[in-house]
Symmetry: C2
Subunit: 256 residues, 2 copies
């Protein structure tokens, strides 16, 4: 990893994920978003709706990675405590933000929604933060320091990722090549490990495919250097072809 690599962590906040009631999809979406931008997502944490848990995670992650993204806990109910926790982590106040309030009130006027204390919770923004305005929800997220606080509802979360995209420093895009092998990963494991040592700058992963009629292993090569990647992929393809021949099996239809 070069010194100027851009890294990130994702903090998913919500009891509903930890209870299994809601199946998270924001981890996968954020992972793809980061990969597309050449941002190296290094860690994900899921914590409950408890202030201390959130504060601890925010402070552990924000000093360590270029960016921290959070999802969840910015709605209008008592269990939405992410803004409180982020303000506490940064040691700043959490006043009603005039800009956020105006945005919400405009939407509420359009929809005939009553203004009340619960809804106004969504206008509370830590001092010094800037808003993350999005096209789906009138309730904004916010950015303070390197921490980006976003909604947990997937469609709003994705709109907020799009909104912050132009503000993020991006890294060298990581390219990948997948080589399919019709033998088990135990068969290709040894030679793949040897090739990994020859190409330390091309990260090689091996993923057995279960539940098929035929044995299938996907070997995935990742690098930001297209020349080295293609060179390594050529070696891996040759190694797999040899393994197929030795095992007397037909190679899989697609090598892509």
């Amino acid at each position: 990893m070069s010194a100027d690599s851009i890294t990130a962590a994702l903090l998913v906040i919500g009891d509903e994920i930890l209870s299994g009631r809601t199946k998270d999809v924001n981890i996968g979406a954020t992972a793809e978003f980061c990969t597309d931008l050449g941002i190296d997502l290094k860690q994900v944490r899921v914590v409950s709706d408890e202030t201390d848990e959130i504060v601890e995670a925010i402070n552990a992650l924000r000093g360590r990675y270029t960016y921290v993204f959070t999802t969840g806990g910015i709605g209008p109910t008592h269990d939405d405590i992410t803004a409180d926790a982020v303000a506490k982590a940064f040691g700043v106040a959490l006043p009603i933000n005039d800009e956020a309030r105006a945005m919400l009130e405009t939407r509420w006027k359009q929809t005939g929604t009553e203004v009340n204390e619960a809804r106004l919770r969504m206008a509370r923004i830590p001092e010094g933060a800037s808003l993350i305005v999005n096209s789906v929800s009138a309730a904004p997220g916010f950015r303070i320091g390197n921490v980006h606080v976003m909604a947990g509802v997937p469609i709003i979360m994705r709109a907020m990722l799009e909104a912050i995209l132009p503000t993020l420093r991006t890294g060298k895009k990581v390219l990948s090549v997948t080589v399919k092998a019709a033998v088990g990963e135990g068969t290709v494991g040894g030679p793949l490990g040897a090739l990994q040592e020859l190409y330390p700058d091309v990260k090689m992963g091996s993923y057995p495919q279960m539940g098929n009629d035929k044995v299938m292993t996907e070997l995935v090569l990742r690098s930001s250097d297209p020349v080295r990647l293609e060179e390594a992929a050529g070696k891996v393809r040759a190694m797999v072809a040899e393994a197929h021949q030795r095992a007397g099996v037909t190679p899989p239809d697609e090598v892509y």
Copy 2:
């Protein structure tokens, strides 16, 4: 949370999750598994295939929760380093385990699979650990201290969860009641917060449903005490009925 509550953390290990290439399903499965057993899943972490990251996470989590579950990184290739990292975290050696080797060799004999160094990696088990034998894969997971090391392939992971189930201490099962409201969560947020203060032992969450034609909010109440849960649910149902009346909306079909 009572002093004798049973807690857990899940550590998901694998670059393929952090790159977005593979979408994790083990978090949701583990969350449901824990909830069914009355085990309070308190935290999830996803880290990359790097020894230091895994060691740090294992040591941070194992002192803090009753159980730690890990998934991923116990296959036969060079990027499968979970056993190495766990051995390092516990400060023990990682020899070939005779029992694991015998299990693997029996399966390989049946299937005509060659024994090689890569495959024998799967028989390396930290000293002092006991095996987690499962019905799907001949490659065992293992348990050392309070840490349960399992496969990343979901079907094997679930078989391993079933295998360890009888060995786990279980808590009081947490029951839940869901009340559907045909108003936004900003409308019920205030009174729900007041009810939460009256019932600190019944955890109340609010989840807006997006993408429907109608506004819909699900209020989820959770408690291990069925009497208090039903009492609180009655109050929440009455509060929601009043909100429906005030808003002049038809209540949703199901209140379950």
